[in-house]
Symmetry: C2
Subunit: 468 residues, 2 copies
């Protein structure tokens, strides 16, 4: 008999549909009434909070301080930038009025603003404005700050977590005395992201830099980590930019140097967004729902009592392990098999069902999410080994993700762009090209097939692929 | 000789000017380039982060889950509310365009929206929209959620932290089956705020409810905590509203009850904003700068090495105490007396200056912020007593704040509103009136003098005052 899965759609049949179903059935987010926006529900938000907390600590450990800059940026400031920065993006939400008024029984905007305000699509401009005041002398440098905030970019085609009109992110911004320092800083944050992705998110992507035409507008170097999703498409997980003096010039970030001359600061920026939650779903999920690395899983263990009189025993289990992991007892009035499948879909690493049999034998019936095998384990053994079970869970996620990156990458040296296109006709793959010259010559035609140059890895390998 | 203070303006001479100077010299925030907005700088933001972390834990402990709703709300939704809610506020930022375009060499808004979007002035409406989907049956209730986010309200007269066009806050929203449950919930969150203000912020305000005309539009009951500032004006620190079924009706939050009938949910909301940072400055500050309760102080102890060769000893002090408090060594190239006064202005509870003399005698020269006395203490004694010093710091802040509330409150039973006005001619005070009937009859005329009815305390005492 064919195995039945907890999701209706199988990822091999329709990856996009599977993705939305995985999000919905794990209760991560809803479509919002505002076009292109989403409501991040408690379970989804809790994952983001866990990511934030890991990242925030690392951002602070690497010398950055948090602060907060305004959401609304006077339109004038963009005038400056549009003159300095090629590829200046124009899709932004513009505030033109400051009042609602009733006219003919309907609310309409009134109180037009003299200078319209733009909702930040990123904060380089308004932060640069402050940096230009704060950086007077070389003694004021480096300035290394970060903010957690919301961003609005007018996207026509949106998709839950991956591309939404509003998203949450962290944006770091730094200003330095010398190019060397700024370059080192952008490498440090790139490395920080890489380590967090590997260690905490079990995501083993490709660390590289963007080719020139794919860089952030105004950047000298854009560092990226490209992840391969299970459908063989690439996803840019995060970026660290070395901006040279481009933004300093647009924002007039000048300081008096050690020799007394007036110089432009070298700036960097780095960011990661709620999109990473979508990447986790598409990287680790399976046909039974999402899977979560333990660092960010809201619960590591869920205990489902099958009768009321086993609650005390469930409490005992919880006490035994709650010092080393996040445990939740779900005693809600709902059929326990339904609960089990809910938690499977939510990607809880270990799901325990406790009935009278377990109480009598002082044991636990534990389902491990990654193989869905039910095991009967003595309470002692379970309590003693819980940390090792969770480690195994993460190792297995990492093993699968490393394997995924291996199997989805094909070496295409010497092939024409047409041949490459044909190779990808039935299945998306990442394409590696050893020589950058060859990559350059393929770039334009591959682009026409929707295959873009994702990055040049640290070993100098160019990686192409379809992407999110 | 008259004692010189670290701030130029004394609070008794010009409280408003003193306030801005205290913020500026503690490096809490800057005026932003965006009118009415501020840049919260690292030291100020760190205070907010500490408040957030305490409050977030308590919000979770009381059963609420964090989530995130859109910044932008379709204008249509406000149409509904304006019909249901008296006193509907209209000053809001309205997004009408989604693009910037160059016309005659200047960037101008383009891409007009069919339905304008409003930047949330609070999220009752858009959260209510979700609640109406989530609450189908009594089994789905209660729903208890919270979000940390930014809010925009078009304010004409703004003041750092106290009233800014954009501010940060936490807004909790809950929906319940019965009025009893919802009322109990609004009391729980009111109590939660009260305890946090007392225990963590050393703020001992008046716990009460708002008189009818001062309630949040649409609320049945608005619980408040009113704080007395050092200039004798009142400040509303936070609110918890019981909203009855008013918002449920506007948003159609209906559920199938236990008896099968369709009923409106009873909702509540509760919030506290970055304004509390302003309240802390105006409550605890003095003519030498701000003062901070230890729960939220970025540093408890700052160590200033007076020469380079004492750094090792400074490290030793840090190691001795860093397990029980937040210590920072400031080895920057700057005159140490300047540093000392910087940290006085920043309200660091204990400032240690370490020179060769201290190293030789294995002692510490410690300045306690609240009395600015310098003490020479042996390293052992200092290390052993650090927790108790910090407790004393908080006790003293609390003692002063309790005293402040006592001395600034005058009993005015039987006086006319004119007499009360005259009493406040030279000095702001809070006014207490024992009988609610008397308060009601005074209310309108006092209002003309700018003296408003702040709350009715738990003991039934009506409190009036000028306010922020």
């Amino acid at each position: 008999m064919e195995r039945r899965y907890a999701l209706k759609t199988r990822m091999e049949d329709d990856f996009s549909k599977w993705y939305l179903e995985a999000i919905d059935s794990a209760d991560l987010a809803d479509q919002a009434i505002t076009r292109g926006c989403m409501v991040i529900k408690p379970y989804g938000y809790s994952i983001w909070e866990n990511i934030q907390s890991i990242l925030d600590q690392e951002i602070k450990n690497t010398g950055h301080e948090n602060c907060y800059f305004p959401l609304l940026i006077p339109l004038d400031l963009f005038d400056k930038e549009s003159k300095h920065v090629d590829g200046f993006a124009k899709e932004m939400a513009v505030v033109t009025h400051h009042r609602l008024e009733v006219t003919n029984g309907k609310l309409v905007p009134s109180g037009p603003l003299e200078t319209p305000l733009v909702i930040r699509p990123t904060s380089e401009l308004i932060i640069g404005e402050s940096f230009s005041k704060w950086a007077q002398s070389y003694r004021d440098l480096p300035i290394m700050i970060n903010q957690w905030c919301n961003i609005v970019r007018w996207e026509m085609r949106t998709r839950m977590f991956l591309r939404t009109m509003e998203f949450l992110w962290q944006e770091g911004h730094t200003a330095h005395e010398t190019p060397e320092e700024a370059i080192a800083e952008s490498r440090t944050t790139h490395e920080m992201y890489y380590n967090i992705l590997q260690k905490h998110l079990c995501l083993h992507g490709i660390k590289g830099i963007k080719p020139d035409h794919e860089k952030f507008p105004g950047a000298v170097t854009t560092h990226t980590i490209e992840l391969c999703m299970q459908d063989g498409k690439a996803l840019q997980a995060c970026t660290s930019h070395y901006l040279g003096t481009n933004f300093a010039k647009a924002n007039n970030i000048q300081f008096q140097s050690r020799t007394g001359s007036l110089e432009y600061a070298h700036t960097t920026s780095f960011g990661i967004t709620t999109r990473i939650v979508g990447a986790i779903v598409m990287s680790h999920g399976d046909n039974d729902g999402i899977n979560l690395p333990t660092s960010i899983a809201p619960y590591h263990v869920v205990i489902i009592p099958m009768q009321n009189d086993v609650l005390e025993y469930c409490q005992k289990i919880k006490e035994n392990i709650s010092k080393v992991c996040r445990v939740h007892i779900d005693a809600k009035d709902k059929k326990s098999s339904h609960k089990r499948w809910d938690y499977v879909r939510k990607g809880v690493p270990i799901i325990c069902e406790i009935g009278r049999k377990e109480v009598e034998s002082c044991s636990i019936s534990a389902t491990f999410r990654l193989n869905l095998e039910k095991n009967t384990i003595s309470l002692d053994e379970f309590s003693n080994n819980i940390t090792s079970y969770l480690k195994q869970h993460d190792s297995e996620l990492s093993r699968r993700n490393i394997e995924l990156h291996k199997t989805k990458m094909i070496q295409c040296d010497g092939l024409s762009s047409k041949q490459i296109h044909e190779l990808l006709a039935n299945e998306n793959k990442l394409i590696s090209i050893s020589a950058e010259k060859e990559a350059e010559s393929l770039c334009a035609t591959l682009d026409q097939y929707g295959i873009t140059w994702r990055c040049i890895s640290q070993d100098g390998i160019s990686v192409f692929g379809k992407s999110y």
